[in-house]
Amino acid sequence: MSEQRFASRFLLPGAVWLLLFFLVPLGILLAISFGTTDDLGNSLYGWHPSNYADAFDPLFAPVLLRSVGYAFATVVLCLVIGYPIAYYIARFGGRRKNALIALVVLPFFVNYLVRTYAWVAILGDEGVFNGAANTNIRFLNTPYAVVGGLVYGYLAFMILPIYAALDRMDPALIEAGKDLYGSRWNTFRHVTFPHTFQGVLAGGVLVFLPAVGDFVSAQLLGGPDEYMVGNLIQQQFFAAENWPFGAALTTLMMGFLLIFMVMYLRSAAKASREATA
């Protein structure tokens, strides 16, 4: 038996599983998004593109825009916070590098709900902060709280790829930039940042994708005025019982995000080719 044939059999179980439980469900999602419901709220197949038109109804369109806006703000904040942290660990972490990066990942393994809920306890009107500082600041139910929750939830996704890019980069390049009389800022702008741009791009997409679909932060830290598309989808499935509309919203979101997914997968494929070459 040739190596090719032997190894290709190993592909089968995993690929078939993903086909059946990942790809086929996406097809069903698409089919139901054009469907309608009967009087009992059961989904029926059909051809009702109006589900998609409804998504852009003045009632729902602001929610879609808000989701993109919040997710974009989250990416920008994650970059502004995450780049210096990745830079600090990669350049000045020394022997503790691995420990420091593990500490970045660690909060990620605390349940996301519990972490978000902890912020409710801290920032609530009668929370730890207002109690300790004896103030009366309204943090919750604001866009800042929702975006803050998203940043807190997904920051690790930004730091890891940037750290990986910085760690791979030869520090001699930075020295060279300074030897050539580049100021700190110019060295960063013309040498360090371009060298780690792939990492920044990867981090941006890895934060943006889950942030657009998030509904936990808006539900717990915000309110109906801060709801994102994820909240809307969740409502269609568990409160409004309009599954076809929920499916249409999900498909719409997936379609929009597909551009970013393809962008990420192409750059990841390129990076892994370069690494093996």
């Binding site: 592909l11 999602l29 499916a247």
Partner: protein, 294 residues
């Protein structure tokens, strides 16, 4: 710095002397920023753990140490069955996803067939798909084929999103191994299967075990997929936390959250320590993150 030209007079000689040299020292600002970052990252977690031991209901003031919220957690029959359900789901997910993911990784690295490219994309897309999309489509699949929502449907959903993590971790290890050792085994008369079992798999063990533990932690903590695929009862812990939080803040949640944190820490700690326990020198973080980064 671009503003140097504007304010050179402000830098008096003695200030310039106390300022560290510009190059490869540790910039104080960055260091301070990093400390602040870690503080903010861990403050909420520390708070949850601290108040899980509070003797009163207060979430503002620590009134003394007690285990009462843990007692309440473990004495509640329904929470107990939820914990059991979460562990059961995570164990099954770990075993099945690790097996499927490892085989897939081997196939992707060693086989170059017409289907490899497609299989590779099929493996990568779940990693970048928002959980809510995967959750909604899994729910639609199960209702369309008439499968009742239960622990089984949660397991199916968890396995689906976990396979890719295993494949990425194991593939990184496999790629760094190279085919030379396997070829040597084949030259010495081993069959393909013997080579895989006796040569490749032992070399892969650290990555396979680390990936399995990672999957356990991911599954145990997962909320979104569980939320969309869960039946009435028993529901896994994160789903219970979600319903509880919406009815207001109670200290029992702190106890559940802290307990889940402990389980995740043990799992991740094991995953990080395993390569060392098995006598390998490689960095555990490197094994886990693979070359692929996230």
């Amino acid at each position: 710095m671009s503003t140097v030209a504007e304010a050179p007079a402000a830098v008096t000689p003695e200030r310039a002397a106390t300022r560290p040299p510009k190059d490869f020292d540790r910039p104080r600002f960055l260091r301070l920023f990093a400390w602040l970052f870690y503080l903010v990252m861990f403050a909420p977690i520390a708070l949850v753990v601290l108040f899980s031991f509070n003797s009163t209901r207060s979430l503002q003031k620590f009134d003394g140490f007690s285990f009462r919220w843990y007692e309440r957690f473990f004495e509640s029959e329904s929470l107990h069955s939820s914990l059991q359900a979460s562990i059961e789901i995570a164990l099954v997910t770990m075993v099945v996803a690790t097996a499927l993911g490892t085989l897939l990784a081997y196939g992707l690295v060693r086989a170059r067939t017409r289907w490899s490219g497609a299989a590779n994309i099929l493996m990568l897309v779940p990693l970048v798909t928002p959980e809510i999309v995967a959750g909604v489509s899994a729910l639609l699949l199960f209702t369309q084929i008439g499968l009742n929502l239960s622990l089984t449907t949660i397991m199916l959903g968890h396995i689906t999103f976990s396979i890719s993590y295993v494949t990425v971790v194991v593939r990184g290890r496999l790629a760094s191994l190279g085919p030379e050792v396997e070829n040597a085994a084949l030259d010495l008369g081993a069959t393909r299967w013997q080579t895989f079992r006796l040569v490749t798999l032992p070399e892969l063990w650290p990555a396979v075990l680390a990936a399995g533990l990672l999957v356990f932690a991911l599954s145990f903590d997962d909320f979104v997929m569980s939320f969309f695929t869960t039946g009435e009862s028993p529901q896994p812990l994160p789903v219970r936390i979600w319903s509880a939080i919406r009815f207001g803040v109670t200290p029992t949640i702190n106890a559940i959250g802290s307990f889940m944190l402990a389980i995740s820490l043990v799992t991740v700690g094991l995953a990080l320590l395993l390569p060392r326990l098995l006598g390998r020198k490689e960095s555990a973080v490197g094994v886990l993150l693979g070359r692929e980064g996230a």
